[in-house]
């Protein structure tokens, strides 16, 4: 227990030290992106990993929250109202998504979420009076919580890190809670859960709302990070990318989506500077993950580590006498 707490403390200190270690604002911004996409992936993982419901429309929810911030700011409201309003709008759309998509599971659920995500993308693209269409909406200025300006890359990273840590803690607590256990139960054996007295639909709805909340938080961070929002954010490829983060890192694990988010963001922003066909490389990496670690990077690495430890201990020669006793 003490060892685990120490590891957590060390990880937090290491994350807080990242901007001082890399200095270059460009890379600090990449780190901020990793954290905000990790929040998105953590949210999606609630559905994909713990509820067993694969959503291909989450970029729609992410984008709706972003557009809500941009629109509210453009309408002259302050940052507080814009942020709270965006979360309310994000959760409202999540409830709509859930009400429609939870009529089904499996492939049908994927198709409904995909269709809903595409509708939001289409609206962002075509409802020009509201969204400015293809030109997108510019956001001028980031909020100043407690009077601290978030204009510099470092300050924005620190703010994102705090929200990220809260999100990770919330998911960790949720997963170990009775509700988290029942959610996993509805993933593995919905029929039995129903017979045991659980309201399976309501459990899934609750999980969807939690997922939508984290997604909306990420969407708000995204629009302040970029200070711009366009329909591209809601595109199907963005939903697929988030899903790849979850699956490549390890669905149904706490750290998996974070590792997956880091992988995708680094490929997109760092490797793309050196390799023109970075998309090809990302694809190759995913194929390799699927072949060698189908359960994802985090559980896969844990498995390799365990078997390596076992190999090491087995290779030690055991004295015959000891073996006999």
């Amino acid at each position: 227990m003490i060892g685990r707490n120490l590891a957590i403390a060390a990880a937090i200190i290491a994350l807080a030290a990242v901007p001082y270690a890399i200095r270059e604002p460009y890379y600090v911004n990449v780190a901020s992106q990793i954290l905000l996409y990790a929040i998105f992936a953590l949210g999606l993982n609630i559905l994909v990993g713990y509820a067993g419901l694969v959503s291909l429309g989450h970029a729609g929810l992410f984008g709706v929250a972003s557009y809500a911030v941009a629109s509210l700011l453009a309408a002259g409201f302050g940052h507080t109202i814009a942020i709270v309003g965006a979360l309310v709008v994000g959760l409202t759309f999540t409830a709509g998504f859930a009400a429609l998509a939870l009529r089904a599971t499996g492939i049908s659920f994927i198709m409904i979420t995909l269709a809903l995500g595409e509708i939001l993308w289409g609206l962002a693209y075509r409802w020009i009076s509201l969204t400015n269409g293809d030109n997108g909406i510019n956001v001028s200025g980031r909020p100043k919580p407690f009077g601290i300006a978030l204009t510099s890359a470092n300050a924005f990273y620190d703010a994102t890190l705090i929200i990220f840590l809260v999100a990770v803690a919330a998911v960790a607590i949720f997963v170990r809670s009775p509700f988290g256990a029942t959610l996993c139960g509805t993933r593995d054996q919905p029929r039995r859960m129903n017979a045991l007295g659980y309201h399976v639909w309501m459990i899934r709805f609750g999980a969807f709302m939690f997922s939508g909340l984290l997604t909306s938080v990420a969407g708000v961070l995204f629009v302040y990070y970029n200070e711009f929002i366009s329909p591209q954010t809601l595109a199907l490829t963005a939903s697929a990318e988030a899903l790849l983060m979850v699956i490549s890192g390890g669905a149904g694990t706490l750290l998996g989506p974070i590792v997956g988010a880091a992988l995708v963001v680094i490929m997109k922003n760092v490797v793309s500077a050196y390799v023109v066909r970075w998309n090809f490389m990302l694809g190759a990496i995913f194929v390799a993950i699927v072949i060698f670690m189908p359960e994802g990077l985090v559980p896969g690495a844990a498995r390799l580590f365990r078997s390596a430890v076992r190999m090491m201990s087995r290779s030690k020669p055991v004295p015959v006498v000891e073996r006999m006793s």
């Binding site: 509700f179 859960m193 659980y198 399976v200």
Partner: protein, 245 residues
Amino acid sequence: MTALAVRDLSKSFGGLRVTTNVNLAVEPGERRLIIGPNGAGKTTLFNLITGELRPDSGSIQLFGQDITGAATRKRAHLGMARTYQIITLFPRDTILRNAMLALLGLSPLRWNPWLPLHRQQHLLDEAHAALGRVGLDRIAERPLAETSYGEKRRVEIAMALAQNPKVLLLDEPFAGLSIDERRDVSRLLAAIPREVTIVMIEHDMDTALDLADRITLLHFGEVIVEGTRAEVVANPRTREVYLGE
């Protein structure tokens, strides 16, 4: 008052009538055995009683309360528990956690998203007690995937008993068990107190007959014979459709 009353229950899948005007009246504390050849509609009857299927007509009452239209989860809260013929457990969890999920199902705690489940001492104690009743407490921490088929059967029963049901529906509790395991499960079922009413589907006549007070014989979705053990076994229709003698 009748514990479980089924009146004129019918269900068709398309043109196939799987349950035809079935009537059952199971008294409190009774052990009722439902027998019948494959495809007689025994499991369908269970699915109708638990609400996993909706009947086309007829009614179901639990201790006088009409539950015909009640959701399956509601029936669990009213004191109905079941086991499945095909083992339906949580394969990724330990035996203990399976039992805890059964207990949590009837507890308001199930909606709580922040308390750590593994520190809920009263749930843990109750889960250990439920597993103790079926002799699995010793291996409570074992992952379900590493248990034998016979142990899984007992987990099924432990989970149903953990809910402290008034009416317990057992769907072939002896299916796939060895002779020794059958004897163990049979003892375990015999030890269930009479406060619990039991309705049991079973193919294994030798083991099941000893446990039963009354027997209902189903054939093509209809009740053919009903009565005490001696009456049903002596009835020529039983021999005709079931015993094949």
